[in-house]
């Protein structure tokens, strides 16, 4: 039996209110794991647990061999970054919003060239100076995805990253994202309601009931 680092996350006997009951769940490193299940099933709640935005009522979540409670929550969240289900927009233009993830996590901001690349990466044809207020729902979602892509964390927790996108755009962005993640050996844990994403990209699919 291998233990420790082999599993990125190891959940044991987790209970949270009457929302989540998980006896055991292992998530491997450098893999793409998809989480599926019906609406209201607790997928977002589970991601928030992995990011330590919520603490379980019972049970344990082990990350890299150490219980989440032994980690400094801020340091952990800078390694395990979560994309929220509702894209969050901060006051300012696209440039500021793209860099804001890095600023909040105290990394140095990137130059315009890198930011423009990221926009291209998520198929967003906008200027860096554009105000984020006017963006459509799907555009905001892509901006938020580009923002955490630029943060370059070890683990991506993505909560329905393409729910507001058409099939074609979804495919283009996911193709690029997953290819890049595999190349850089990132761990991706993704909640999705799409039928195709788990089939196409997942190494492992977890169903939450």
């Amino acid at each position: 039996m291998k233990k420790g680092l082999f599993y990125m996350f190891h959940i044991k006997n987790l209970r949270y209110k009457d929302i989540l009951y998980i006896d055991e769940l292992k998530i491997e490193e450098k893999q793409v794991t998809c989480i599926i299940g019906q609406s209201g099933g607790g997928k977002t709640t589970l991601l928030k647990m992995l990011n330590h935005m919520l603490s379980p009522d019972q049970g344990e979540i082990v990350y890299k061999g150490r219980s989440l409670f032994e980690w400094n929550p801020i340091a952990l969240r800078r390694e395990v970054v979560m994309l929220s289900q509702q894209p969050v927009m901060f006051e300012g233009n696209i440039r500021e919003n793209l860099n804001f993830g890095r600023i909040l996590s105290e990394k140095e901001p990137l130059d315009d060239e890198k930011l423009k690349e990221a926009l291209k990466f998520v198929c967003l044809q906008k200027k860096l100076e554009d105000d984020v207020e006017q963006l459509s729902g799907g555009e905001k979602q892509r901006l938020a995805l580009a923002r955490i892509f630029l943060m370059d964390p070890e683990v991506f927790l993505l909560d329905e990253p393409t729910s507001a996108l058409d099939k074609g755009t979804e495919e283009k962005i996911m193709d690029a994202f997953i290819r890049d993640a595999r190349k850089k050996e990132k761990t991706v844990i993704m909640v999705t309601h799409s039928d195709t994403i788990p089939k196409t990209y997942a190494d492992k699919v977890i169903t939450i009931k």
Partner: protein
């Protein structure tokens, strides 16, 4: 040069209440059901002021540090009680403690500095100076804390997504709440600062009016007014700053998780 203030005779004072009757008539005519409130407020105002008048007369005649301190405690408690009442929402024990400490520290620091160093009256507890100045500092700090807290608590509730969104990206709580805490501080001190702008032109402040009526030279009166206004600004600034700076932290637990309703205790 000092002249006697004209004492308003009793029947003339009673005549003032004619205007309350006019107000009631106007309200009746518009069919706004406020007669009861007007009568009650007028009665309360009258009784409170008469009582305060007699109490102050007693205190001024028998200056004692103990009584002055007692009055100070009473004013602080009343201010804190008022803040809690104005905020409506259930507040956590920790947040209540933060409010009490901010209120007391902000006003006391300003009082000590202005009483002992700027105005420099002796003895330090001279009630004629101490009590009105304390009243103004405490009253304004109370308003500042209330405005700032209200704004912060409301925005924490409505902008939960934004705060959590920032935390998820690895933000420290102070970075995640910075825009909200800043705008709350702004709301807390803005009335005080705006008040200074209109000073003397739009209105003569109550204290200055009182002093001038009592025969003080307007030049001395403005000296006091300037000092008091700056003191108020300081008191409001310190109290509001402390309440927000330590207040926002009570919305996070020791795992830096956001607790929006501020109801959980850890």
């Amino acid at each position: 040069m000092k002249q006697e203030v004209i004492n308003i005779e009793f029947w003339r004072l009673s005549a003032a209440y004619l205007f309350v009757l006019i107000l009631i008539l106007l309200v009746k005519k518009r069919e706004i059901k406020r007669e009861k409130l007007i009568v009650l407020s007028t009665a309360r105002m009258t009784i409170q002021l008469v009582l305060v008048g007699y109490i102050l007369m007693y205190i001024f005649k028998n200056p004692s540090p103990w009584i002055v301190l007692l009055v100070l405690c009473f004013m602080e408690s009343f201010a804190v009680y008022n803040i809690f009442k104005q905020l409506h929402k259930p507040l956590s024990k920790k947040l209540k403690l933060v409010i009490v400490l901010s209120m007391v520290i902000g006003s006391l620091v300003s009082l000590l500095y202005f009483n002992l160093i700027v105005i420099h009256f002796k003895p330090w507890y001279e009630p004629q100076y101490f009590i009105p100045i304390a009243g103004m500092f405490i009253g304004n700090s109370m308003i500042g804390i209330t405005l700032g807290m209200k704004e912060m608590i409301e925005n924490f509730a409505t902008q939960k997504n934004l705060i959590e969104g920032a935390l998820m990206l690895g933000a420290k709580p102070d970075a995640a709440t910075k825009p909200i805490v800043n705008s709350a501080f702004d709301s807390a001190i803005l009335p005080t600062i705006n008040n200074m702008v209109g000073m003397g032109i739009v209105f003569l402040p109550g204290m200055m009016t009182g002093q001038i009526l009592a025969g003080t030279s307007p030049l001395v009166a403005i000296e006091y007014q300037i000092v008091i206004l700056i003191g108020i600004a300081g008191s409001v600034g310190i109290s509001s700053f402390l309440s927000l700076q330590f207040g926002y932290k009570t919305f996070f637990n020791d795992r830096f998780q956001f607790i929006p309703q501020n109801e959980k205790e850890k």
